[in-house]
Amino acid sequence: MNILVCISQAPDTTSRIAFKNGNTEFDADGVQFIVNPYDEWYALVRALELKEAGGGSVTILTVGDASTEPTMRKALAIGADAAVRIDAKPTDSMQTARLIAAHAAGKGYDLILCGKETIDYNGAVVPGMVAALLDMPYVALATKLDVADGVATAMREVTGGEEEVEVALPAVFSAAKGMAEQRIPNMRGIMSARTKPLNVETGASDATTKVRVFALPPEKGACKMIPADQAEELIRLLREEAKAI
């Protein structure tokens, strides 16, 4: 089975978020980038498990400029076989999805795995667009994924619970917590990642949306402290002052 895992890089979860150029651009100065956690912990690791069980290959793909290569090497160190970088600066989900779909079309991938969302843009849309562009079925927010005889069985999050679904491959999935457990790359993985193929492809696609301006949320006012022995007072404040109950 040949699996494509779409990974994007994201600022480390503890990064301080700042903007530049009149608040129109993310200021990446001094920011540590990681593989987007959903892409790494869940999508990539599950892809590797499926390959280990049934053979085949795992290719990772990133739409990004050369600065994304260190995070791609990290995904190779975890165990992916090959990497493709589409050399473009992703500014919009539709643009990113079209570039991914253009790469994947006709390549014979049985499974395309994505994360449920990026932790910077939080769009949760790229995989659904890729599926529609390739005319493949799409299962969003999958927490479990198994494959047998060309048919995938998955659990997906829905309002109020989970659904078990079945879908014939090829298909696209977005991975949520539960699909796999994080893997820490070992020394051998890190060494072999250096020599694994990382092919750069070119592509062009127009954006359909753009960021007009970013803003940081207003500072929270001071927290009102209530002595522990007067806990009932909190309930009064929640009702009368905050109008929250």
């Binding site: 903007f19 769009g123 079925p137 359909t208 949306t209 929270k220 109950i245």
Partner: protein, 310 residues
């Protein structure tokens, strides 16, 4: 203006009513007609007229494959200037495909009506906001649950049968497993949430959390380590890698307030933190705080809530 609606027992779900209200408000501002698309068994107008929807397009069969829902909505949206989905599990799955079919820009997870053509949304896991504009004529929005109030007072909407070539269901649902929340409102829709972390010491101590939640009519949640070690089910995990919520009231007991936890809850309107450690980072993000032992404070709060009702 088109709103894509999910029905439960024949009526629009809460996040669908929010999406309908959003579409109706946009229609009002532009003089367009607000139309809802529904599929499956429908009771009356599904409760949609009240939100300002004028017409309900009804596709009789219930659809479970997002690909089919996207085709249905795209067919209904020919010529519409905007399409609104709730940013829930179905909207997240169907809106991207609808945007592809319509060749429309998609602005996902918006939190308010567009102004001067740009709509606000949260980015960087709630650490910042962005105003996004589409460069296409037609725009697809998904609306973050609990950000837009459900409108009321509109007249009964006209219901019309609607047919479209939605294709075969390729994603087939085998079974549904409700989260064992015993009648609680699902977390993303909950207006009140009582959450607890490792400070509770063990799963056997969750009774005091559940009792406060029950008294408040709230849904229970937890921090990630608590669901990782299996003290609580996965679907209760909120934060960067779990569910993002924005209830009116978020009460956190025995949670330190790590940045990854805050990412999922910092858009709550009122945050209450109960922690034995006065230096816990969560107090910086809170509106009300109690430095104290959750085992003593939570039962007191439950009693005080019950006293209100009495």
């Amino acid at each position: 203006m088109i709103a894509s609606i999910t029905l439960k027992d024949g009526l629009a779900t809460k996040s669908s009513l929010e999406a309908a209200s959003f579409a109706a408000a946009m229609a009002d501002a532009t003089g367009a007609e607000a139309v809802a698309v529904v599929h499956g068994a429908l009771q009356g107008d599904g409760g949609l007229g009240a939100t300002g929807i004028k017409k309900v397009l009804h596709y009789p069969a219930e659809l479970h494959d997002a690909g089919q829902i996207a085709r249905l909505v795209a067919a209904a949206a020919q010529g519409a200037s905007a399409v609104v989905f709730p940013h829930d599990a179905i909207g997240k799955a169907a809106a991207p495909a609808a945007a592809v079919h319509l060749e429309a820009g998609l602005i996902s997870g918006v939190t308010a009506l567009p102004q001067d053509g740009a709509a606000p949304r949260n980015v960087f896991s709630g650490k910042a906001t962005a105003e996004i504009e589409a460069t296409t004529n037609q725009v697809v929005y998904t609306l973050t649950p609990n950000t837009f109030s459900v409108a009321s007072g509109g007249a009964e909407a006209a219901v019309e049968a609607f047919d479209a070539a939605v294709g075969e269901a390729r994603v087939k649902v085998k079974s549904f497993h409700p989260s064992s929340t015993d009648g609680q409102v699902p977390l993303p829709e909950a207006e009140r949430v009582v959450s607890a972390g490792r400070g509770l010491k063990g799963p056997e101590n969750w009774g005091i959390v559940e009792e406060l939640a029950q008294a408040l009519g709230a849904t229970t949640a937890c921090s990630r380590p608590v669901s990782d070690i299996g003290w609580r089910p996965h679907h209760e995990h909120v934060g960067q890698t779990g569910i993002t919520i924005r209830p009116n009231l978020y009460i956190a007991a025995g949670i330190s307030g790590a940045i990854q936890h805050l990412a999922g809850v910092n858009q709550s309107k009122v945050i209450v933190v109960i922690n034995t450690d006065p230096e816990a980072p969560f107090f910086k993000a809170a509106d009300y705080g109690i430095v104290g032992d959750a085992f003593e404070v939570l039962p007191k709060l439950t009693a005080a809530v019950k006293a209100l009702g009495a």
